[in-house]
Amino acid sequence: MATDLTHAQLLTGGEAIVEAMCQIDPDVVPVYPITPQTPIIQGYAKAIADGRAHGEMVNVESEHSAMSAAIAAAVAGARTMTATSSQGLALMAEVVYIAASMRAPVVMTLGNRALSGPINIHCDHSDSMLIRDSGAIQLFAESAQEAYDLTVLAPRLAEHPDVLLPVIVCVDGFTLTHSAEPVELLDGELVRDFVGEYRIPHPLLDLAAPTTQGPFAMPDYYFELRRQQAAAIDGALVLFEELGEELGDLTGRRVGALDRYRLEGARRALVCLGSTAGTAKDVVDELRHEGEQVGLLRVCSYRPFPAAEVREALASVDEVIVLDRADSPGGAPALAVEVAYAAGPVRSHVYGLGGRDLHPADLREVFAGTAGRYVGLRSEPCPA
């Protein structure tokens, strides 16, 4: 942190996101409560009650309806935001795919939380991974500050005419949503200017030019429409970097697809998502200090996944170590396989499910190669 934070506010990630929502001031916000997303929707409800926000908050009866109403509002012509977690995301999974395929630029906060069962309210990334094929953009925040920055950026990315896709800002449940940290907010006016007006090519409510939205497609066209969608998300990568720079000019901070931390000359590199990167940076510093050539690659843009950049970032590394905060029972973990595909042989670990913590000591073992496949689990034998 190069900047002086003395005058920053102490905000939880949830509170910081509420501030961003008030500044963006979306038209429609359909939501259904679930821990750890609740501070966000409650904060937003309070902001409306206090006259600080002016959207239509639609308190739906389930997350399936939350996303359905969000898609409808977005394609109707209204800027739309929502938020959820875990079971909520699972229940709306069907419609998240539909949001992406209908090119509805809905912005959603995901307070990452473990999927049931057993039921658990704490952080892991299994919810994000469930919808990794949905076509929605997923950006992982490392800090409350970044949660704010990404939320401010999200509408621009979502609504760009070449993108028109849902953008999900993934924020580690509790670790970020409920922890207070110093956060610098932009001036509200500045945010409004940055975000601009909501514009989509064919609003349903354009009564003068009737459209049919959500048609049935047979094998003669389905593939083409899916391909178009894939092109849109692939194109979002460059755009994200550009918007990151544009926003960076306002904030003095940088957000981007990858966060390369001390990878110069690194012989071993860790790859991970989200708030764990902060802890990992500390460990990298320590090990570097001890003379070990290690580094970290944090993936912020998990979808679209910057495969070429990952390959290049890891090109001169001897060993790539991927940390997944979600398991794929009977298969290999999601981030690990993605990186393997991008960069060659990797070692994989699973950690942190259901809110289990990851400690510096664990990470030392990971780097040393003495950790089991499941880091933080009791009595997991070391690899042979």
């Binding site: 038209d27 959207g55 239509e56 639609v58 898609i71 409808a72 977005a74 069907e94 939205q213």
Partner: protein
């Protein structure tokens, strides 16, 4: 002007649903759709649930819809309508849309998308009091997927998931009374109607629904020749049979007040109506005599209860 002519005028040459779709010959759905939409003045936006109507009218890159039309999935027509309505309110408030000409949002779903998989989204939208008209075209089964039983399928009807056979007599449960369920939500307007010869009733109700100060629910019986098992050209008389036998009464509930909108001069035995449709053919075996009686008993009881509810 006669009501039918007002419908014609509302279309001004452009039917909301045009030909070229792939619904079956003689399908009962389009008449419900056009009668409802033509009876509502001003601009309209349609939201559809997955089902025959949706699948058969929007094969990409074609469309049979002349009005703005939205489909998301099977279970969420009411949620989609909620989103459109919220967007409309927000944009109007911000001055982003024309301020005259109140828009009407009409959702169409089959019985499956209303009684069963779409009920929760509907109930939530009614509770939140979004201003929209939800129309269930009730053809008493999941037709799009091949005539499976739904919560609307009548007791005794054979469907592909409640078939008649050596060990069964068709559906074993009574149908859900969805109109009453909607009425229990305390919304300003609820009505039960039918296409075919009762188009006038349907038209009047659609107009009222659109003018209600809040959500409105219309349950319209729509004939499905394929699923019910009869010749397409007999549709009008078969829909009529449902009404005249009091199997499908026509009524409305306005701000909680129940009112019959049609009372058959003479209640027809339900057997007659059943006999006209293959889905009930197995009930005319001697072994099923009791089932037939049971059906008549139930129709009578329900009708009496309804009449009482409507003030006798």
């Amino acid at each position: 002007m006669s009501r039918l002519k007002t419908l014609v005028r509302e279309e001004h040459g452009t039917p909301p649903l045009r030909g070229g779709h792939s619904l079956c010959q003689g399908c009962g759905i389009p008449m419900v759709v056009r009668t409802v939409l033509d009876s509502i003045e001003g601009p309209k936006v349609v939201v559809s649930a997955t089902g025959c109507l949706e699948v058969a009218t929007t094969r990409f890159p074609t469309t049979a819809w002349n009005v703005p039309w939205l489909h998301l999935a099977f279970e969420n027509a009411a949620a989609g309508a909620s989103g459109v309505e919220a967007a409309y309110r927000a944009l109007r408030r911000r001055g982003g849309l024309p301020q005259d000409d109140e828009l009407t949002i009409v959702a169409f779903a089959g019985d499956g998308g209303t009684y069963d998989i779409g009920l929760q989204a509907l109930s939530g939208a009614l509770e939140r009091r979004h201003k929209f008209v939800f129309v269930c075209y009730d053809n008493e089964a999941y037709m799009n997927t091949g005539i499976q039983r739904s919560g609307a399928t009548p007791f005794g009807a054979a469907t592909t998931t409640s078939p008649a056979g050596a060990a069964s007599f068709g559906k074993v449960q009574q149908r859900k009374d969805l109109t009453a369920i909607a009425a229990a939500h305390g919304i300003p307007y609820v009505a039960q109607s039918a296409a075919g010869p009762h188009w006038h009733d349907l038209s009047v109700k659609a107009a009222r629904a659109a003018k209600a100060d809040g959500p409105a629910f219309l349950n319209a019986l729509a004939d499905c020749p394929l699923g019910w098992g009869h010749e397409a050209r007999l549709s009008p008389s078969i829909v009529d049979g449902a009404v005249e036998s009091c199997f499908w009464p026509l009524y409305e509930v306005v701000d909680g007040a129940w009112r019959l909108t049609y009372r058959p001069a003479e209640k027809q035995p339900v057997e007659q109506w059943l006999r006209s449709q293959k889905r009930f053919a197995h009930l005319f075996s001697p072994a099923a005599a009791e089932t037939l009686e049971e059906i008549q008993r139930r129709v009578d009881a329900d009708w009496d209860a309804l009449v009482a509810r409507c003030g006798g």
